[in-house]
């Protein structure tokens, strides 16, 4: 199990153990983190699982594929160097302690 920290837009902090192989989005959805809507269920179709990754984590994550890049590029509140779609982040042991923050708005 890998510890992932989720911070809701209003500031509420959750720490969940997420199984390796699941996505960061699934960890949020399964536990009911408010603001991670994940309408498409994790197939990079909707951008409603957008998160801000803590700065010291961004460069340690797997690279952004073109589909995710294009979705993110037009997502509300997108911030280069911080924004990711949490459905595209697969949980591994290396992500232990990853902290992500939910933006004000998803679309």
């Amino acid at each position: 199990m890998v510890k992932i920290i989720y911070i809701e837009h209003a500031g509420k902090r959750h720490e969940f153990d997420v199984a390796a192989g699941q996505s960061v989005m699934e960890g949020a959805r399964d536990n009911g983190v408010d603001g991670i809507v994940a309408e498409c269920g994790g197939c990079c179709s909707c951008s409603t699982c957008h998160v801000y990754v803590a700065e010291d984590w961004f460069d340690r994550l797997p690279p952004i594929e073109p589909m995710e890049e294009d979705m993110l590029d037009f997502a509300p509140g997108m911030e280069p160097g911080r924004s990711r779609l949490s459905c595209q982040l697969t949980v591994t042991e290396e992500l232990d302690g990853l902290t992500v923050q939910v933006p004000a708005e998803q679309a």
Partner: protein, 401 residues
């Protein structure tokens, strides 16, 4: 302890229950599901789950612990048979449960082929629930001859997975073309070519006369007189809103359970949301079948149950994955009279923009998330880009307008 009772533990029911708790509702909350499974995602059933790439536990919308932690009384295998509005109770099996407020999130049921033409034969399946996929799994094997009846999104997605899994696939559509009710000819042309390239025998303007055999269908007789050997059939000919319970309780039903803009049915203590409900829209009524609507409608109704009085404004979107192609749709294309084709920045990206006059109303984006996201934002803001300039327009400029 009566509180809020939700009938239907699909995406809408779960979203409503979760939203009520997120908004601070602390009263009793019961979620009644007819199936044996806790709330799960349906879209992967015709995609990755059918392909065997997504394990069952990852279909679940919440962890098993979520319900206890949020004090949601989830009762499965609970098929509600009647609503007693005078007593404020629902009945299922031997149980009677009182409610202060009742929400119907009963979803929709797939249309079946009539029994008279073989719809009840043992190897004829629909694709709506986990049990449907489980039932067809033993026959869904490489080399099996599959007949898909219906060229809508469910039928096309099933055909794509089947072709990829090595089945011999024939898809028939009785209308002149696939996606006839839901997409423009340009989008249909793209997917027809895609399926044929992948080996699907796709036949349009070809109805099913009957399936022959028993207890399982062995062959299909088509309206044009040809006969096909079949090992199994998947029927994707649309769904009907699950409104029988509402009808029995004498609530108004009009293409689904009729609600006002706040989700209230003709009984002020009973609400409805998701696939089963029709709501006021543009002078008429609208009913949507999508995950997006199930979530957003249910969350809106949840807030209204707590006193928000927010009218539901639908911002429809939908997606379909077939082979390596992602289709993303935003808006409603009802009443379009023009489709503008725009090639995307990346190779293979194309989008179809629907216009009614000069008003932009919907978009189909194929492997083109930039166009999809732009179209979605324009629709949300009520902006119509000039259709004559669209094909050459820079997307970022459009949204900056």
């Amino acid at each position: 302890m009566s509180g809020i009772v939700v009938v239907g533990a699909g995406q809408a029911g779960l979203s409503l229950g979760a939203k009520l708790r997120a908004e601070g509702y602390s009263g009793a909350l019961t979620l009644l599901g007819e199936e044996a499974w806790p709330p799960y995602q349906r879209p992967p059933l015709s995609k990755k789950f059918l392909l065997g790439e997504l394990p069952r536990e990852r279909l679940s919308l919440r962890s098993p612990e979520f319900y206890g932690e949020h004090d949601i009384d989830l009762k499965l295998g609970a098929r509600v048979e009647a609503i007693d509005r005078d007593a404020g109770q629902v009945r299922f099996g031997d149980h009677v449960l009182a409610y202060d407020r009742l929400v119907l999130t009963t979803g929709a049921c797939p249309r079946r082929l009539p029994a008279a033409i073989g719809g009840e034969l043992g190897n004829v399946f629909t694709l709506r629930g986990i049990d449907d996929v489980d039932a067809m799994a033993p026959r869904f094997k490489p080399g099996a001859r599959l007949l898909v009846v219906g060229g809508g999104y469910i039928g096309l997605e099933a055909a794509a997975i089947a072709a990829r899994s090595g089945l011999e696939v024939t898809l028939i559509e009785s209308a002149p073309r696939i996606l006839g009710r839901v997409a423009a000819a340009e989008t249909a042309d793209y997917f027809r070519r895609l399926h044929r390239k992948n080996g699907v025998d796709l036949r349009e303007g070809t109805g099913l006369r009957r399936l022959v055999g028993g207890p399982a269908a062995r062959a299909a007789e088509l309206a044009d007189g040809t006969t096909l050997d079949v090992d199994l059939a998947i029927v994707g000919i649309g769904v009907e809103p699950a409104a029988a319970l509402a009808q029995q309780a004498r609530l108004a039903v009009d293409n689904g359970i009729a609600t006002d803009a706040y989700g209230r049915t003709t009984d002020p203590n009973i609400f409805a949301a998701g696939d089963c409900a029709s709501f006021p829209h543009g002078g008429g009524r609208l009913r949507l079948e999508s995950v997006q609507n199930a979530i957003e409608h249910a969350e809106c109704v949840g807030r209204n149950l707590l006193g928000a009085e927010t009218p539901y404004r639908a911002q429809p979107w939908f997606w379909s994955d077939q082979y390596d192609v992602k289709l993303q749709i935003a808006g409603l294309n009802t009443g379009y009279d023009r489709v503008v084709v725009r090639n995307g920045e990346r190779e293979g990206a194309v989008s179809h923009w629907y216009y009614a006059g000069r008003r932009f109303i919907a978009i189909d984006a194929i492997n083109d998330p930039r166009a999809y996201m732009t179209g979605r934002r324009l629709l949300g803001a009520g902006i119509s880009p000039d259709p004559d300039d669209l094909a050459a327009a820079d997307l970022k400029t459009l949204t900056a307008a």
